[in-house]
Amino acid sequence: MANQIRLKKGYDIKLVGEATKEIVSTEAPKTYAIQPHEIRGLVPKLQVEVGSEVKCGSPLYFSKSQPDVFFTSPVSGEVVEIIRGEKRRILEVRILADGKLTYENFGAADPASLGRDGVKEKMLKSGLWAFLRQRPYNRVAETNVVPKNIFISGFDSAPLAPDLNFALKGRESHLQTGINALATLTDGKIYLGLDSKEDNSTFASLKNVTVNHFEGPHPAGNVGVQIHHVAPINKGDIVWTINIQDLATLGKLFAEGIYDPERVVAITGSEIENPVYTKMRVGACLDTLASKVKPGNVRIISGNVLFGSKVDINSYLGFYDQQITAIPEGDEPEFMGWLLPSEARPSISKTFLSYLLPSKKYRVNTNMHGESRPFVVTNEYEQVLPMDVYPVQLLKAILAGDLEAMEALGIFEVVEEDLSLCEFVCTSKQPVQNILADGLTLIEREG
């Protein structure tokens, strides 16, 4: 019988614009882009130039600090543009799709018979290794370590997040092959976290994994929270995580020998006409969704409202993202908005009467709803972080640059997305995720 873990802390931001469970096919995007800057600290070394022909799985660049980790093309076609930013930093490698999808052949194989090194080599070459994330530091997995455990979350509890059980229906065998591949990489266990209140039929038959059931509000679906409650990261421990949709891609690599990074993406938010699911490849251009976005001043997010990147409609699906959210911008001043809000807004504070309507769905905008202030209110972050971590003290240790305190207070156990609700609830409007990211960068460099 699976382990049941009940979490009380957290908060579900209920929003308008949930995707109906229907996968609608959209017009195939013409361009794709892989963006090195999505990964903190990644310095790419290009393997292609403008005009290079690529197939699905052809290398585009590798990481300077991890030369064996390749980032490969999600589509077949021609490299048409390399976008650079300040100091010639590479921002995007753009590919014009040829509309045919020809694949590099990495050879189908049973991961168990390949063994650890064989699996590793195939993943590195095909570009799948980059989807393995390592904690602490939330970086791409190091190739020369054996992780203590590998964690996978089988549900996404973020606002309007896709139903992964629905998204992966029919891909059970790929998931199983993916798990078998991961099993060769660790001497520990592979943990799968499931939502105990939802349908888990897609995952019911999976073997070779230890299943834990979680119950509770967001961030229960965050893999970091699940790690904390199942087998917390201690000093010196390394664990890996992978998004479950990428696990299916990994399975397909071993089953069919190809890199086919197609995901089921939820197109959500109040500013989307008829929110639905659609299939997209990593790095797909979002311009094919333009007709679905309502007119007006809209923010488009690759990811969810608590952890996502602001993009424009001609930009691309993020490397790890499985959701697109569109909400109105909130750049209009609001008369006495702190006292008499012009429209209902989600809040954990009971000073808003809408807390009496717990199932009300909101049309949120991106307004800060107040100005930045020093830390004043206490027991606010603590209400939304279901971990035995003191978030304010941790953030203050980071601000003070105190490496020892950061470590002692558990910085190795959290990554940016775990504290995103803390940033949401903050009365003083502190940039919580940025502070944590600075802390992680600092301790990775100095620690």
Binding site: E334, F335, A408
Partner: protein
């Protein structure tokens, strides 16, 4: 609304860098953001923010203080007419109270905000909302007869020494309002804890000894108890607040209404409030067991009703900046405040009001309490690693 917005937009260039009135930019900013929540949008990976901000938080606390303020105003008038033996209507009491109390509030806000704005101007900070609460707390914890210059002096001391030297809102070690109170208490003891001044005017109610009816005492229950007497009020009167005392402190009922507002809105910590009351009751009960003097024998519950106990527990101890910041720490902090208050009251007759001392003392110790709570978390993590 449009007109207002346009006016502000027209005025703004004067206050921006290079403008004629740039030296008043913080002031302009404070008023502008009071009228219009700025159209600033999120710019990280978190795209939405909770509707609450510090303005709303502090405003909720001000609302929670209204019951004690309104009752205090009425009671100032009531005590005055009682002392001269005249019958008075509700309106009489309120009018008299307003005349006494409003100037104190105006001075407190005027002086405090003036200094706060000046500091923000010089340091280039935006004006914080913390003083909205402090500016109301200071009048509420003073006797109704406090001279206005004294209010101004106490407020200035609180804002400068209690807050700004530490870096402003959020950085201070001590509760600023109590800093004002304790400064005045030590600087002008006769005005803060005596019964009558040398000119014959009473301290705890607005009146003159010469005009008082026979048998009306000038002392508060606390000072009566401290000097070995017995309380002149019934428990019910003390609970409802029909007694002499500082403007806001007399009515436990009004404090409890305020507490309910703070707790239901989630702004004030119920853990601190409950543990302060529990601490006071425990220490009172221990003294009851010892017994011997009228003060030692005073029922433990009565400790919670007299003086500024309830007021301190609800409004002063719960200040999130100067209180303990961890949830476990808050309980220890509250318990110790309750215990110390009763201990100081009973064992040190020189300081009849122990609440103020106890809270300030625990403000100083709050970081230490948090330190131990946080250390235990660190130890837990370390232990997990070595097992």
């Amino acid at each position: 609304m449009k007109f207002l917005k346009d006016t502000i937009d027209k005025l703004r260039p004067n206050f921006e860098k290079g403008g004629k009135l740039h030296f008043l930019h913080s002031t302009f900013d404070a008023f502008e953001t009071f009228l219009f929540v700025p159209g600033h949008t999120t710019h990280g990976k978190v795209h939405v923010r909770d509707g609450i901000d510090l303005k709303r938080t502090m405003f909720t606390v001000v609302i929670a203080m209204l019951p004690v303020l309104l009752f205090g105003i009425w009671n100032v008038g009531y005590q005055h007419y009682l002392s001269i033996g005249e019958a008075s209507t509700l309106m009489d009491n309120v009018l008299f109270g307003l005349i006494q109390v409003l100037p104190i509030i105006v001075v407190s806000y005027g002086v405090g905000l003036g200094i706060e704005f000046a500091f923000c101007q010089v340091k280039g900070h935006s004006v914080n909302e913390g003083f909205l609460v402090t500016g109301m707390l200071i009048p509420l914890c003073l006797p109704p007869t406090t001279p206005l210059w004294m209010v101004a002096l106490g407020t200035a001391f609180a804002v400068i020494i209690g807050k700004e030297v530490f870096g402003g809102t959020g950085m201070n070690l001590l509760n600023p309002a109590l800093t004002a109170r304790v400064f005045l208490f030590f600087a002008y003891p006769a005005y803060m804890s005596g019964e009558f001044l040398s000119n014959g005017s009473a301290v705890w109610f607005a009146g003159d000894r010469a005009l008082m009816v026979d048998g009306f005492s000038g002392a508060t229950t606390l000072s009566v108890m401290a000097s070995g007497g017995t309380a002149e009020y019934s428990m019910m009167d003390m609970f409802l607040g029909f007694e002499k005392g500082s403007i806001g402190e007399t009515s436990v009922l009004a404090c409890l209404i305020g507490a309910a507002i703070l707790i239901i809105s989630g702004i004030g910590s119920w853990k601190i409030m409950a543990s302060v009351f529990a601490g006071g009751f425990i220490m009172g009960s221990i003294f009851n067991m010892v017994g011997g003097t009228p003060f030692l024998d005073m029922p433990a519950v009565q400790h919670l009703l007299i003086g500024g106990f309830a007021f301190g527990a609800v409004y002063m101890a719960t200040d999130p900046v100067s209180a303990a910041q961890t949830e476990k720490g808050k309980i220890i902090y509250g318990l110790l405040i309750g215990i110390l208050t009763v201990l100081i009251r009973v064992s040190n007759p020189a300081y009849p009001e122990g609440m103020m001392m106890a809270i300030l003392l625990m403000n100083v110790f709050a970081p230490l309490i948090d330190y131990f709570v946080v250390e235990s978390n660190k130890k837990r993590r370390l232990k997990r690693a070595t097992v």
